[in-house]
Symmetry: C2
Subunit: 250 residues, 2 copies
Amino acid sequence: MSDNFETFLRECVSDNRLQRFEEVLEHRTRHLTVVLENIYDPFNASACLRTCDCFGVQDVHVIESRNEFNPNPDIALGASKWLTIHRYASHNAAQDDINKADQPPSPPVNTATADCFSKLRADGYRILTTSPRQDSTPLKAVSVTGKTAIVLGAEQVGVSEFAIAEADDRIHIPMFGFTESFNISVSAAIILQQITSHLHASEISWQLTDLEKQAIRELWVRKTLRSRYEPLRRRFEYQQQKQQHQQPPQ
Amino acid sequence: MSDNFETFLRECVSDNRLQRFEEVLEHRTRHLTVVLENIYDPFNASACLRTCDCFGVQDVHVIESRNEFNPNPDIALGASKWLTIHRYASHNAAQDDINKADQPPSPPVNTATADCFSKLRADGYRILTTSPRQDSTPLKAVSVTGKTAIVLGAEQVGVSEFAIAEADDRIHIPMFGFTESFNISVSAAIILQQITSHLHASEISWQLTDLEKQAIRELWVRKTLRSRYEPLRRRFEYQQQKQQHQQPPQ
């Protein structure tokens, strides 16, 4: 048995599965990420996650200030298992104002979106909101040289005013029909296909670092082992202790 | 009042609406068409129609041999009104064999798919089926110099064996994750986006002929007028007859 617990875990997963992890990791990226702001339709939620996995986008940021994110497992086909999902719920910003009765109330803040954007900025992302308006930047003209986050908004109402105001740019997919917007999961797919296709053909270093790959590989091993993980961990620790006791004193 | 009935009808539609018709007609195409084989999920059905309209694909062929096509109007957002939808239901091919009791029965034929493909061939289309298998032709390598029909298959089971056997080629969208297929409406969007983007930048004459534009424009005028169409037609005929009676004999 290996001394290193993660090496030991990897010994519990089939070679085929480990080989698949490596193939997928080669195309995984954190250069591009997706933000789903208040998407409530289970079909859209699931199709977006499935599309992120298919195009190698590892991180999905889910904002749930107005609607709960509720993917349909029949449509997601287990995609969320392999993604890193960051969730943001609203906390009550107005509550602070009650404690400051002598001051005028602050304007309403979408605290979940604000928290998400703060995290993205701290991680070096440029934030782009999607818009059906054809006067924003067309998808093909978008520069993705730097780390890029794409914000998709809720069904019917789209991206929030707060998100639009705080973002770096608005982008759109050119449309040629009577219908004035794409379905959300369709928008996500078109945008990710275009950007990842561009990244794969570019000199941009969009791939994960070795450290990032290692962390995600270990996460995937744990997800694969599921309920077997804890018993295996305990068995490993027991055997480690036994080995230490059996070693002759130096 | 105009002598020509269609010119008269156009006089009943606002200038803004007519201007919109012309803008949309400029990007409408019959060079590319979509075949939906036994799609049953209302969300997928609707999202596919909406995407066809957005990318200017005028004709959609709907095969209903196993499942009924049932788009959700909240998701289609009226897109089907502007499209030309061709429907194909199965007729009982086995019935012919009963009448030929002395002959061995023919192998089962998907008559709806066969009828659809016969029509497409007669109209000069090359037929491509979509496949999640990564050993088929990748989307970017597909030639669309000639008229092209893209077949999307039912949820879970995909395109029928019959369609695969009868088609000219199988194509796939490259995927980089654990999930082994895209959602159907997502596949449709990625394929249409790539092909129409290629067509718009090419020398291929993908646009409608003037005659095709005229027929579609007239159809759209009728769809816009809806229940007002018949009374207007009768009023026009009445006025035409009245004018003829009022004319002095030559």
